[in-house]
């Protein structure tokens, strides 16, 4: 279990490294001259490439964040066992759902 999570965390980190660089460049580019709803939607609406990119981004985040929080819960809150894993599973499900809702929201 521990080894599996470690591999997933590193693999998702590698994917996220690329996604975050693209995201940061996009943010810095997009905020120049002010951010508007129309400008965001113009970029994303109907754009399959952005849809695919953000879908991968959300999937990687959904895996990466709960595994990271798992260590924080264990080491800082001394919260271990099934209740912690169940809570984090719920959080992962929420992130995946809310993330994909956001991706679809700016695409459709």
């Amino acid at each position: 279990m521990q080894a599996g999570l470690w591999i997933v965390q590193r693999a998702s980190a590698a994917v996220l490294a690329v996604c975050v660089v693209v995201h940061l460049v996009t943010i810095i580019y997009a905020v120049q001259g002010g951010l508007t709803t129309a400008e965001i939607l113009e970029r994303t609406r109907g754009n399959v490439a952005w849809f695919a990119f953000y879908s991968v981004f959300v999937l990687a985040v959904t895996l990466h964040v709960p595994i990271g929080l798992r260590s924080v819960c264990s080491e800082w809150l001394r919260w271990r066992g099934r209740s912690r894993d169940f809570a984090l599973l719920l959080f992962a499900a929420f992130l995946g759902w809310a993330g994909m809702r956001a991706v679809v929201g700016v695409f459709a």
Partner: protein
């Protein structure tokens, strides 16, 4: 420590980020809300946290997967420089 704190901050921010975007950007009100200086400062903090977490994460991956142990201090410096660079770039762009 920076890596952990920035990670927690991002984990707290993400639900809000997704929820806002999920409203299909019925968001002009929200975008005008973000024009307040304090909110802009908050945005800047989130972006710096993201850059810092990226830098720290790249350092971890490099240490674990590349034979670069002697370069640890240099890598930490590169990570810090990356975070600072992104922060400055955003501050200039905002």
């Amino acid at each position: 420590m920076v890596h952990r704190l920035s990670g927690i901050a991002l984990a707290l921010f993400l639900p809000l980020h997704f929820w806002t975007l999920g409203r299909a950007l019925a968001l002009d009100d929200f975008v005008s809300w973000t024009q307040q200086p304090l909110v802009k400062f908050g945005e800047w903090l989130v972006v710096v946290a993201l850059a810092a977490h990226l830098g720290g994460g790249l350092r971890v991956l490099a240490l674990e997967f590349l034979p670069w142990r002697d370069w640890q201090k240099s890598l930490a410096a590169v990570a810090a420089a990356l975070a600072l660079g992104v922060g400055l770039a955003l501050a200039l762009a905002l």
